[in-house]
């Protein structure tokens, strides 16, 4: 599936398109299909997100959204070497799939 991500303009925090706005949690990301370009242009122009882009992702067996590229998986949770600073998430298995 295709999902959208970027950084929040004010805080720089990593965000994911959830269908109506931008969430801090990768699990909220939704498949945007053919609409990617249109949403990206609209949201960036409205300054609701900074430098957003579309990426490939899949849903794993437990129902969690898993970005295809390692870089976006690191973005999804935070630095692997500072798990204390990770994005708070309900997904306890998160670190198992980052790398």
């Amino acid at each position: 599936m295709k999902i959208l991500t970027g950084n929040d303009l004010r805080s720089g925090a990593v965000t994911w398109w959830n269908g109506s706005g931008w969430s801090l949690f990768v699990d909220d990301a939704v498949d945007v299909g053919e609409e990617a370009e249109e949403i990206l242009a609209r949201e960036e122009a409205a300054r609701r997100v900074n430098v957003p882009y579309a990426i490939e992702a899949s849903i794993d067996a437990a129902g969690h959204v898993r970005p295809a590229h390692i870089k976006d998986r690191v973005r999804a949770l935070g630095p692997t070497v500072r798990r204390d600073l990770a994005v708070p998430t309900a997904d306890k298995t998160g670190w198992d799939w980052v790398i």
Binding site: R10, G12, I70, V74, R75
Partner: protein
């Protein structure tokens, strides 16, 4: 230490207000990201994987306790309680909000600091020998010359849009502790027949095409040295390639023209500039030099009580000979076994600031090895200093050992990375500390970069590791035989890459080969240079 005069302060203050306005316009949508990006980069503000990243300049790595305390306050107030000290003797914060950035710059300006020219295609922070002003082997303190260059290069209108970034290092000893010949311009201050002058090297660098800078002028009289630097920059600015980012550094120009032709053009420009008169007046250098006068060293004991073996080991490893024999320079390791190289918490910064104030004439240094340094510690105070450092987790006795790893932020933070660097450093330092092999192996400089940009100096590592992307997974190339010191050389790749576990095992194998082959007194690098790559390859890839 240099103190801002009213011009310096006014320039920095004006810049803060200018940036405040730019950030406000970005937040209000009056600037697009494309318009804003070059403006924020001119103020050291990057967008990284998890947030904005702010790089603060620490000119030639020198700072005082007041500045270190401010760095700690910023870490706590605007970031997540820590900062990362870098190979260019700066500090980076990883979790900055755009809406706070102007306030941070305003706070920095109150202690004579800024983030100007820490990014972009301009002359970056000038780096220098971390032992400057303290080392027994220096000709003079190189920092007044570095400071003069800083003033000349700050907001230099002609050099604000160079073909590419430009990094300068200034040293003043035969020993090179600043990777001088791996800079775009390397300057060594020398003395000939009683006269001070500057030796110039140009066209060095790491990155995707590593090169060692050739000597381009053996002696420039000191009252012409800014003029000569200007000539070097002018020729580069005129002919450096702007069409291709990967060929835009001065190293490519010097390489393609050939050193002789580059020198010819620089000499021609130099002669012209001498006739124009661009050199700052001599009084300016004298004014600056007065700021770097020696502190009031006093005589004291020259020996110490070595009965505590942990203390004795730290003294042997982490202290460096001082020009005054009742003092030493003491390295504060930011490399605890299993830790993140170069990271320090706000509390640690405060401990270090207090030690500087109490025991080192209020002076601190950032080392290009991602460590900190107390430059002037009386031998009689060493035990107290060590005890305080040790209690704060800053007492690792591992300078220049395999635990003293340089690692760039890599894929844990950096948007350009192919692979993570930090976890390798953590696992290797932990492994060697646990097995007690660190001491056995002795001096061994291991440097790790997460991509070809080489921020972690892997080309200059006795052992270098480069992270590459192998079909979406992390992979690591191993190289051997590099050095950033006076015996400068570029490391050579051993062969096919490894995965994370594989490269850690490979580092151990390589040290096995060294231990088996070394002769009395040989460092890893010496043994490698004597026996060559083959035995290492055999151990790594042979059946």
């Amino acid at each position: 230490m240099y103190r801002y005069d009213s011009y310096d302060q006014a320039m920095v203050d004006a810049r803060v207000e200018e940036f405040r306005d730019q950030a406000r316009r970005r937040l209000e949508g009056k600037l697009t990201e494309d318009q804003f990006k070059p403006l924020r980069l001119m103020n050291g503000l990057y967008l990284q994987l998890h947030a904005y990243m702010l790089r603060v300049a620490i000119p030639y790595g020198t700072l005082d306790s007041r500045q270190m305390l401010m760095l700690a306050d910023i870490a706590e107030k605007y970031d997540r309680g820590y900062g990362h000290f870098t190979t260019r003797q700066n500090i980076q914060y990883n979790w900055i909000k755009l809406e706070d950035a102007a306030d941070i710059l305003a706070d920095l300006a109150t202690v004579e600091m800024h983030a100007i020219q820490t990014s972009g295609n301009c002359i970056r922070n000038i780096s220098s020998d971390h032992f400057a002003g303290a080392a027994a082997d220096e000709v003079v303190d190189p920092r007044p010359y570095a400071e003069l260059m800083r003033q000349w290069s700050s907001f230099h209108p002609e050099f604000t849009y160079l073909p590419r970034k430009f990094k300068i290092a200034v040293i003043a000893s035969e020993k090179d502790r600043a990777a001088m010949r791996l800079h775009d311009i390397g300057v060594r201050i020398v003395k000939r027949d009683g006269e001070i002058g500057a030796q110039f090297y140009a066209g060095g660098g790491m990155g995707r095409t590593p090169m060692i800078a050739p000597l381009i002028r053996d002696f420039v009289p000191i009252d012409q040295f800014i003029t000569y630097a200007e000539a070097c920059l002018r020729v580069y600015n005129r002919y450096g390639r702007r069409d291709n980012k990967y060929k835009a550094r001065i190293k490519i120009l010097v390489h393609e023209l050939g050193a002789a032709e580059y020198i010819r053009q620089v000499e021609e420009e130099f002669a012209h500039l001498l006739s124009v008169g661009v050199e700052p007046p001599r009084e300016e250098l004298a004014r600056i030099a007065a700021h770097f006068a020696d502190p009031a060293f006093v005589d004291g004991p020259k020996t110490l009580d070595r009965s505590d073996p942990d203390f004795a080991l730290w003294v042997d490893r982490n202290t460096h000979r001082h020009k005054h024999d009742a003092y030493v320079s003491a390295v504060i390791s930011l490399k605890p076994a299993g830790g993140i190289p170069g990271d320090a918490t706000a509390e640690q910064m405060r401990v270090v600031a207090k030690l500087a104030k109490d025991y080192s004439f209020d002076e601190l240094r950032v080392m290009h090895t991602q460590n900190l340094l107390l430059p002037h510690v009386a031998i009689r105070d060493l035990h107290a200093v060590w005890s305080a450092l040790d209690a704060a987790g800053l007492g690792a006795p591992n300078m220049d050992t395999i635990e003293d790893i340089i690692a760039c932020p890599g894929l844990d933070y950096c948007s350009l990375a192919n692979a993570r660097s930090i976890p390798l450093a953590q696992r290797i330092s932990e492994r060697f500390a646990e097995t007690g092999r660190t001491e056995v192996v002795g001096e061994l400089k291991l440097k790790i970069s997460g991509c070809i940009n080489a921020c972690g100096h892997h080309h200059a590592g006795h052992i270098g590791i480069l992270g590459v992307d192998k079909k979406g997974t992390e992979n690591y190339q191993l190289s051997l035989g590099g050095s950033e010191a006076e015996d400068v050389s570029l490391a050579k790749i051993t062969g096919p890459g490894f995965d994370e576990d594989g490269v850690i095992a490979a580092v151990e194998k390589v040290t096995d080969v060294y231990l088996a082959a070394r002769t009395e007194g040989e460092r890893f690098l010496d043994t490698y240079r004597r026996i060559g790559m083959e035995p290492f390859k055999e151990a790594l890839y042979g059946q």
